[in-house]
Amino acid sequence: MASLKRWVLVGVGACVALALAYLPPRGAKPSGREVLFLAQSRRGTPARQRAQAVADEWRAADGSLRLLRARRQLQELLREASAGTRGSSLVVVSESADVAIATPPLADSAIHVAWRQLGLGETKVKVAVIIQWATLSAARDRPLSEEGSYAYLAPDSTDRTTCIAVVSLVRYWTRVFARDPRVRVQVPFDVVVQSLKAGLGPCAFYAAYGTPGKSVRGWLVSRGWDLALTLDAGARGRQANSLFGMADPRYGWYWEAIYSLPPTAVACLASRPEGCRAAVLAGASDDPVIPVPDIVSMDRRWWTRVPRLVEGGRFLGDVARAVGRDRFLSFWTSPLPVDTALAAALKRPVGEWTADWQRDFVEPIRLGPVPPLGGVTIALLIAALAVAVVAITASRRQVR
């Protein structure tokens, strides 16, 4: 009987120990730290949301109209440029509040340097860049233009050999190019070049590699060219282009940044080839649909978009650099499905190559059920205690 009591006491003691370890004390208050919901923003009233939706529609329609208008206006300019500057297929024009203005020398110089750095000279597909400068006084008869938004008109929607890029500069960059004294920090020239280089977006790919084959083009169109935001993103890790790029594993919001990503992107961060493959090949179809006119609109502000693949904007640029021009051209113009064509160019399965590429940016994360260290320690201590009690009890009950 005494032995039974002892066992009951040991059991109750173990339960109390577990409860102390895991249950929060009564009346515990929250830490007071704000929880950061990265994937959500505050919602406005229904009327406000409706107004925003109408404004977005207006901006989209206005952007499309601007591109189609530019298609007509730029033809003469392109002819003059081709005749005048032999060896370059780039034309730059500027406008502010729908009025053509002279391109500031800094911007003109920087974009031509960007063109040369991309290894582009005379190309089969010419590029016309329209730089829209931010206006400091907003017009009241229309929604504010979306600063930092970019739009592209594919060559097949112009004369088949001209890609048009409309780059809307944010006020900061407008002041930088205008050498506004309010900008106190001197922006290095190579940062300006890099920024305008990124602004060429899909047009840089069209210039470098021509019009893609139907399957590749349909794939990129269906996902808004998110894997080809820039042909040359510069050195890896130079700048954070995503929320995840800025996240630090030492802080709690690191995991919130991770789980704001789609599941396939999270799987790819964990170096799972099947996740990487799904993230890259999303949108690929056997029967791609290409819209007419083919307008690509993108918002490069990383805080407004959720990437399908971390650092995905540089993916195709890195593929091109890794496999070389000939193999990339074979992929780019291939009539084969994207999966097959890309694997042939990479000479590896897409998922495996992408998992390795992803590891170059971020340390792979661990996914799946992992017990917390504290829990494991307590469980081991309890187990050790139980074994010790049993051993002691057993030793005392030995018959001599």
Binding site: L78, R79, E80, S82, A83, E122, K124, P155, D156, R160, T161, Y209, G210, T211, P212, G213, K214, L329, S330, T333, P335
Partner: protein, 146 residues
């Protein structure tokens, strides 16, 4: 005689237009050389068409061929083009002759049995840097004695 033909071909060659792209100039020069190579008398051929195509795209032209006249139909394309298919179509649209074996310089020889409007179809079967420029020429070779 051949030297005169080549000289005439060079003289009639259009000079590079300002604003014309390198690849466009390339195919114009090539088609003139091809015409000079196949023509037996004066190079009175008219370049019937030129343009650009992406891989797998096709383009068609119409041309009137005279009864009893032999023609050489030549197509050329730029350096990035690896395979070009050339097809001659009857006035009703059916295939009369097809050349797809000579890669970037397909040539067809045809004698018209009747004066009619024939079709010529060009298919860009291989272009490693889209678009690829091409040009076609219809060269009258000789008229059969009636």
């Amino acid at each position: 005689m051949r030297a005169i033909v080549v000289l005439l071909a060079i003289l009639t060659m259009p000079s590079a237009m300002p604003g014309q792209q390198r690849w466009e100039r390339q195919v114009q020069e090539r088609v003139q050389r091809a015409v000079a190579a196949v023509a037996t008398s004066s190079p009175s051929a008219v370049v019937k068409g030129s343009g650009m195509l992406n891989t797998s795209e096709a383009s068609s032209f119409k041309t009137t061929l005279i009864q009893g006249t032999s023609y050489a139909i030549v197509a050329v394309c730029d350096d990035d083009c690896s395979r070009l298919q050339l097809t001659l179509l009857s006035p009703s649209g059916s295939d009369l002759a097809k050349e797809r074996n000579s890669e970037s310089l397909p040539t067809l020889h045809f004698t018209a049995q009747a004066t009619a409007v024939y079709g010529i179809r060009v298919v860009m079967e291989g272009c490693r840097w889209n678009p690829c420029w091409y040009a076609i020429a219809v060269v009258p070779l000789s008229k059969l004695p009636s």
